[in-house]
């Protein structure tokens, strides 16, 4: 087990190194920040001076090493537009994004499992057809369109819920602001999970040990809850783990629709304003969270299922 943990951590570390390299190279090509920073009537000489002061006249590998050295200490430089350290700007936004992603995650898991179970146990009934019809729709709806529709219906037509920002710091306001973005972000994975729970449970219900349990005279409820569901959830847990990371990516769009003050919106603003260090910092930190989450999922999985450790 120790060996497995060490190997996975080492792998995650290498992946992060690759990510920083990829992001750096991509952003290195992104245009000349010096032109953006210099005043419009700066002379060629002034521009050169600025470039030298910022260290942008050095070869790319030196700049990368410099960037990497800073990054491990949490130093991603300063935002070109806001003048503050990138690290602080990103960290400020993390709670909002994590709150949104976590709420969407809970929303999708709490609903998808019962829906999938009901669908599987009442296969081909009207419940099943309705649930799977909605699941198919949910997988085909663009996140931003769902958001816009929810804002229109619940924000405008009925006027029940706020549709922009994170609200005042009090609990009720926060919760009311959270509902629409969380539903928007969680719907896709809700649909995916419901379909997965259904097909996984159907497969398990056909296995011999379930027939044995039934033959012993155990009630159908216990057969499903105690015997079938546990095994049926194994593939679901894997997918759910990966999904939490994907929610961080989807948050970029949801945050834009709902003016949610998270990292995703910060990133889009940084790109629109060509704020090079801020964009690099935001992408790197999101990727880091993503890699750490995947590592945790893998380690948990290796702990639960010994076969994984040796593959």
């Amino acid at each position: 087990m120790t060996q497995y943990i060490i190997r996975r951590i080492l792998q995650a570390f290498l992946v992060m190194l690759g990510v920083t390299f990829l992001v750096f190279i991509v952003m290195f090509q992104a245009g000349d920040p010096v032109i953006l920073m210099a005043s419009p009537d700066a002379s060629a000489e002034e521009i050169e001076n600025l470039r030298r002061n910022l260290g942008l006249d050095r070869p790319w590998y030196i700049q990368y090493a410099d960037f990497l050295g800073g990054a491990v200490q949490g130093d991603f430089g300063n935002s070109l537009r806001q003048g503050q350290p990138v690290f602080n700007l990103v960290m400020e936004r993390i709670p909002a994004t994590l709150q949104l992603a976590a709420s969407a995650f809970v929303f999708s898991v709490v609903i998808s499992i019962p829906v999938g179970v009901i669908s599987a146990t009442r296969r081909n009934t009207i419940y099943d057809n309705l649930a799977m019809g909605f699941a198919l729709l949910g997988q085909s709806l663009p996140v931003f369109f769902l958001g816009v529709m929810l804002i229109w219906i619940f924000g405008f037509v009925f006027g029940w819920l706020p549709s922009a920002g994170r609200g005042d710091p009090d609990f009720v306001s926060r919760m009311r602001h959270l509902i629409l973005p969380a539903i928007t972000l969680g719907t896709f994975s809700l649909a995916q999970n419901a379909r997965l729970v259904r097909s996984s449970l159907l497969e398990v219900l056909g296995l011999d040990y379930v027939k044995t349990a039934r033959a012993k005279g155990i009630s159908e409820y216990h057969v499903i809850m105690r015997h079938a569901l546990r095994n049926a959830l194994i593939p679901v847990v894997t997918v759910i783990g990966i999904q939490f990371g994907a929610l961080l990516g989807g948050a970029v769009i949801t945050e834009t629709v709902f003016a949610w003050p998270g990292i995703g919106r910060l990133l889009i603003q940084a790109i629109n304003q060509q704020d090079f260090p801020l964009a690099v910092g935001a992408v790197t930190i999101i990727a880091l969270i993503f890699v750490v989450l995947n590592l945790i999922v893998d380690l948990t999985y290796g702990f639960l299922d010994p076969r994984v450790r040796y593959s």
Partner: protein, 323 residues
């Protein structure tokens, strides 16, 4: 992952045939491996029409394709013509609407129906070409990685790991931020951002197929590596590739719409469904719901159609992929 198909079974049977000289047997084995995945179309079509959802999907896709190809003929207006006097008009459902603009107009007085028809061109073009590009990159790298193994395999798979460590949409945003707006850039970005899934699946299959007898047979009669990869191994991975590609088309159409929505994708001068929803957002509070609802529904139905076709293809070609 894929069912070992006729090629493998037949090659095993034939390899026990007596009376054939060694090179002859190798020759026939190699031929069998090469043409193992031929399937008859009529069977596929009858299976398609037996499935109601898939039939629905096929009809929607035919309609969307028709709309895209014949947009210049069907569209009642120039999609970019701004009739400012007619701005924000409702469509034929309203007493204030007119039959001139059946789905209404947007805030610049452009005809929404015409823009949706032209938008279909972009969605389909990006959906198909970006998936083809991703497939080409992924299949090539997957074949090389699985076939040669060792160092090159390590390098390619570690690149794949790095790419998977960045959420797909984030990677696309980062690449587009550099390349800038533009149709070609969107296709290129979505192609590059999406190759990993093909690469991994093809590599996995190559690893198992390259140990088969018919590959050995091909090698023993002197077939070159490239010809073994393309003629003997690749055809056996087609079933999985087609299934992955069909779902990738849906995901790519959604991604293109999302990028256009974020203002990073296709430039605003070209009508796109995602861009239309984005512009329409300003009209939520003034109540002109048709400006964003119709393009949004267009994306939804197209993606839904591709998804149900994907479901059907998976059940038809490769039932074991069902999760």
């Amino acid at each position: 992952m894929a069912e070992p198909n006729e090629g493998a079974a037949e090659s095993r049977k034939k390899s026990t045939d007596a009376g054939q000289s060694q090179p002859e047997r190798a020759n026939s084995l190699a031929r069998v491996g090469a043409k193992s995945t031929k399937r008859r179309m009529p069977r596929a079509l009858s299976s398609l029409f037996a499935n109601k959802l898939a039939t629905f999907g096929a009809i929607v896709l035919v309609l969307v394709t028709f709309a895209a190809i014949f947009a210049p003929v069907i569209a009642p207006h120039d999609p970019n013509a701004q009739m400012l006097v007619d701005n924000r008009q409702p469509g034929i459902w309203s007493s204030e609407g007119s039959s001139t603009y059946i789905l209404g107009t947007d805030s610049l007085g452009r005809d929404i129906f015409s823009r949706i028809l032209y938008g279909a061109q972009i969605s389909l073009l990006v959906g198909i070409t970006a998936v083809a590009l991703a497939g080409a990159i992924g299949i090539t790298l997957g074949l090389i990685s699985g076939f040669y193994g060792r160092f090159i395999d390590d390098v390619i798979m570690r690149i794949a790991d790095v790419q998977l460590a960045i959420p797909f949409i984030l990677l696309a945003i980062a690449i587009l931020a550099v390349l800038g707006q533009g149709l070609q850039n969107v296709i290129l970005t979505l192609g590059i951002a999406n190759w990993v899934v093909y690469g991994r699946v093809v590599r996995g299959q190559v690893l198992s197929w390259k140990e088969k007898e018919f590959v050995e047979a091909a090698r023993s009669i002197g077939a070159r590596d490239v010809s073994i990869m393309l003629k003997h191994i690749l055809p056996n991975t087609f079933a999985s590739i087609i299934v992955i590609a069909s779902f990738a088309v849906a995901a790519t159409i959604l991604a293109e719409a999302a990028l256009s929505f974020l203002g990073l994708g296709v430039p605003p001068s070209i009508p796109t469904w995602g861009g239309m929803v984005n512009r329409g957002r300003d009209n939520i509070l003034t109540g002109e719901w048709w400006i964003y609802t119709f393009p949004g529904l267009a994306i939804m139905f197209t993606v839904l159609a591709v998804n149900v076709i994907g479901d059907w293809l998976r059940d038809y070609l490769d039932p074991r992929m069902r999760v």
